[in-house]
Amino acid sequence: MNKIHINMERKITMLSQRRWKIGFSVILWLSVFLFWGRFYPSHLSYQEQLQLFLFDTDYLIEHLIIPGGLAEYISEFLVQFYYHRWIGAAILATLFVVLQLLVWLLAQKHKAADVYYLLSFLPIISMWYFMTDENAMLAFAVSILFALGTMYLHVSLNSQWRRVLSVVLFAPLLYWFAGAAHFLFIGWAIICEAKLLYQNNKKLAIGGSIAALILMGLACPLISGLWLQYPIFRLMGGINFYRFPSYIPLTVFIVEALFLFFPFLISSLSPPKKNVHFAIILQSLVLIMSGYVLLSSGADMNKEEAMEYDWLVRNKEWQKIIEKAEAKSPTSPFGVTCLNLALGKTGQLGDRMFQFYQNGTEGLLPHFQRDFVSPLPTSEVFYYLGMINTAQRFTFEAMEAIPNYNKSGRCFKRLAETNLINGQYEVAAKYIRILRKTVFYKDWAEEAMTYLYNEKKISNHKEWGWLRKLRYADDFLFSDREIDMMLGLLYQHNYQNRMAFEYMLAYVLQERDLERFMKYYPLGKYAGYDHIPRSYQEALVYVWTQTHRNFDGMPWSISPDVAHEVTDFARIYMSQQNSQPILHTQYGDTFWYYLLFKKK
């Protein structure tokens, strides 16, 4: 009975020891999940839109022929589920916990004490920090996973010859499947073997073993460099760990080093003889503080905000964009572009434009920049205006500018649409057939297929049919110095395109060009307004007051509030030496304030 009792006690103790560890891993899972799902979700949708995972043998083969290709393939498979952001958060959380468990298992193989379990979280914190960079690729984390798994296999082998064989077999395989993360395995093998040789008093063999393993590690990328056209630094450092091919951040190497050394570090610590709880609390504090410091320095909430706007635009959530701006007005051209589009789509651009921060015409129709991010919201604006060719160009260019040469599901979909609208059915069909090989674009692609060559069906499509009516009929060459004139031509082609009219007037107002405003304004009579939008009233009344002492004879229906406010504005402006702060408080949301005080 006593023996049974002792065994039970031991089992309960072991279980409760395991339970606290499981508990912390669950906390890690929840923390990562909540971080990405609640605070940083737009970074996930950003990742998803910059790739196009295809269920296709050729797609797999394309990946398998380069080092790290399998890890990249698996990561792209996972990233496609970021389409639903909470699923993406769950994927990342699960991956991080698996990495953490592997670090612990490796430490355990070197007899780490349970009390230091929490230290196995520190490399994951560093990975988490790295992944807050929107250009960090999930392939890095998957490659580390491969490497840790291989390290575990290696250390599980008892005989030296089996371990030597495992290095000879696994190192090149690991390099091919996981890329330069194989150096982690090489480093691991070096330390393990050196330790064993030292313990067995074979000190002379240590140097030789280390040299052989280093040569093994270097040979893989160097040999692949004989036929692969990548710079050696990328073959050595990782082809697909970071979105930009021209450099590999130092963080990659620091994270790799942490994953390599931490199992040894943890196992080298002697367990405290007393105050075990204190040790755990101390580790928890270190974790929390390091997590806080790293994540608060790594997470870029300004970019998150911009990405959120872009995600809302992509999903046509115009009202949500406006509500978000009402809570906190965006100030970047990227965010302002999205906001103005939402205002335009909801018919509020003329009324409410200056209620929000405006940064000139770069917040309306930004100039084309050769990057893979900024053309996207601009292409959306051109699309909804009916400038289909320009939308197509911006979308195509944004996709071509993706630094790691990925294609984009979002861009493909938009290109299929623009080509469909323009009647380029063969090109549209090409993109649609590709999208049919995806999980989240497939249904849309199947539906889009039914529109090919079906003029009547396209004309009846709520969006495509409408945009077809808005397109230019007469050709000209795009000029980014004559945006307002192009908008004017667009509007004159179809007076139902009120958005074109509003963008045209917004453009000249933001340029502070009242002469052109007065020239374009009368065209609004075709737009079917039931009132003069607020910002136009403000501009009109301003123009009037430049040449008239009062409002008598003013030919427009200006509301009494506007008339009163412009008078008050003028009084303050003329009477106060430093009127800007007062006017900002009272009239910061008007065209007058923008006209007179906003920096050009």
């Binding site: 056209q229 021209s246 060719n389 071509e400 007469d474």
Partner: protein, 488 residues
């Protein structure tokens, strides 16, 4: 023993999985099958890779009998049409100068339909070893992955000569060989490590071809037959973008001139007749005997107002290959203004008989012109004709001759209006041109449908290009360049 049994069962299983139904009682229909690519009635060179094709339509099984008019046959019964390489080559070899006849039967809902037979003709004119081309997405100003690739025409093998993954941000183009001789190559590299690569008989240099007296680095190369000179254009180019649905891009030269480079002295040779301010000179090419330099020239017009009135004529100037000097007169072979059309990419055949060029309504960057077609100027009788045998309703543009002047390769956007593909056609000694065929692929429909790149600037080569990418990479990033100078 057990392993052997298992393996045998696996092979049997695989064999049974492939369709393997002999044709029984087929319904014969007097129609040609709808196949992709349209290889019906094309003329092929002996040694070309298997002309695999896809059947357009639903089916359970395909059966193809290919019978040589002289001798030989191939029979396929499978779910795809993929001719075994050695059998294919033998069939072509055995039927040079004659035809091979295809009879396609298709199984649909367990019934066989047999289509009307069609032929391919096996030309007696051989074709060169391969093609070198650039592959790039048909974009506007930005490019993603791209490179220069070499395709062995007798197989489906393609290898990358230079890819821009090697030097991030690099752009490569304007590759040119001396009458298909792969040992004499010029290639232009743009980007932070820009250069003009010159590789002659194994010796390679990276040049800086921009001088104070020229507009830009040298582009649009064309070798003198002697290998001692290369004609280039220097251009100040701008892209513009159309607003309407049937147009995309307009590429305009704001200025351009023609010059000749002399590799042995690193000197560029200029002529005031080829760098007039009021004229856009471009696309220089030497005559096969090397005594003339052909080029395109247009009267300068204000851009963008009159861009549609810029029309390039085909002109020539004498060239003294001994002294490296130019004649003192420009001759106009084809006056663009009279035709109200514009000429680009003149390419003399190496036998001196023809100049093939692209004709479009205006401008010089004809790949973006749907109306662009290939034309042939007969230098012997001066006659001019559209090569209606190869032209389509869509763009036909850049083209080049094989070394024996009996084959030519050209770019076409006939498939979808955007993605440029390569076609090959034969011209016999009477000047009759065959129906062109799309560059063969192992599974053409699958390959071309997924391919998101266009083919640019196809050039024939007579042998594999010798290049060591890793060595080239080091040279490119080293920024060591040989500066060319203007000859005084």
């Amino acid at each position: 023993m057990y392993m052997k049994k298992i393996i045998t069962f696996i092979w049997i299983g695989l064999y049974l999985m492939a369709c393997n139904n002999p044709v029984t009682s087929p319904e014969k229909i007097n129609e040609l099958p709808a196949i992709y690519p349209d290889y019906i009635g094309v003329t092929v060179p002996v040694g070309i890779a298997p002309m695999n094709f896809n059947y357009l339509g639903d089916y359970e099984c395909l059966d193809v009998n290919v019978v040589g008019s002289k001798s030989g046959k191939i029979h396929l019964n499978d779910d795809k049409i993929s001719f075994p390489d050695s059998e294919w080559k033998k069939l072509l070899q055995d039927n040079v100068g004659d035809s091979i006849v295809f009879t396609l039967s298709v199984q649909k809902k367990n019934k066989w339909i047999q289509y009307r037979s069609f032929s391919m003709y096996v030309s007696s004119y051989p074709i060169d070893y391969g093609l070198v081309y650039r592959r790039i997405a048909p974009g506007y100003e930005v490019y993603s992955k791209m490179g220069i690739y070499e395709r062995d025409l007798s197989t489906f093998n393609e290898r990358a000569l230079v890819e821009n993954t090697m030097v991030p941000g690099m752009c490569v183009n304007c590759h040119s060989f001396n009458k298909t001789n792969s040992n004499q190559m010029s290639l232009h590299i743009r980007g932070a490590h820009g250069a003009t690569l010159m590789q002659i008989e194994g010796e390679r240099e990276l040049l800086n071809t921009k001088t104070d007296s020229t507009l830009s680095a040298c582009v649009y190369p064309y070798w003198h037959p002697s290998g001692k000179y290369i004609a280039y254009s220097v251009n100040n180019t701008r892209q513009s973008f159309h607003a309407v649905k049937d147009e995309r891009v307009e590429v305009l030269d704001l200025e351009s001139d023609v010059l000749v480079y002399h590799p042995s002295t690193h000197q560029v040779l200029l002529s005031p007749l080829l760098k007039k301010k009021e004229v856009f000179e471009t696309f220089p090419v030497f005559s096969p005997d090397g005594n003339k330099l052909y080029f395109c020239a247009a009267k300068q017009m204000p851009i963008p107002e009159k861009y549609k009135e810029i029309r390039y004529s085909l002109c020539s100037i004498d060239f003294d290959k001994e002294k490296g000097t130019f004649g003192n007169r420009i001759d106009t072979l084809i006056d663009a203004e009279k035709m109200k059309k514009s000429i680009s990419f003149p390419r003399p055949s190496y036998d001196g008989k023809y100049i093939m060029f692209t004709l479009s309504d205006y401008g010089n960057f004809s790949i973006w012109h749907k109306e662009a077609d290939l034309w042939l100027l007969n230098l012997q009788d001066g006659s001019l004709r559209t090569i209606h045998e190869v032209n389509s309703d869509n763009t036909e543009s850049f083209h080049n001759w094989s070394s024996n002047s009996h084959w030519f390769v050209f770019s076409s956007r006939r498939e979808d209006g955007l993605y440029t593909r390569l076609y090959l056609a034969c011209i016999n000694k009477e000047g009759k041109v065959s129906k062109p065929f799309l560059l063969p692929q192992k599974n053409p429909m699958n390959y071309y449908d997924k391919l998101l790149y266009s083919y640019n600037v196809p050039e024939f080569t007579n042998s594999p290009v010798k290049i060591e990418p890793r060595k080239l990479e080091r040279e490119i990033v080293s920024n060591k360049r040989v500066q060319v100078e203007v000859r005084k």
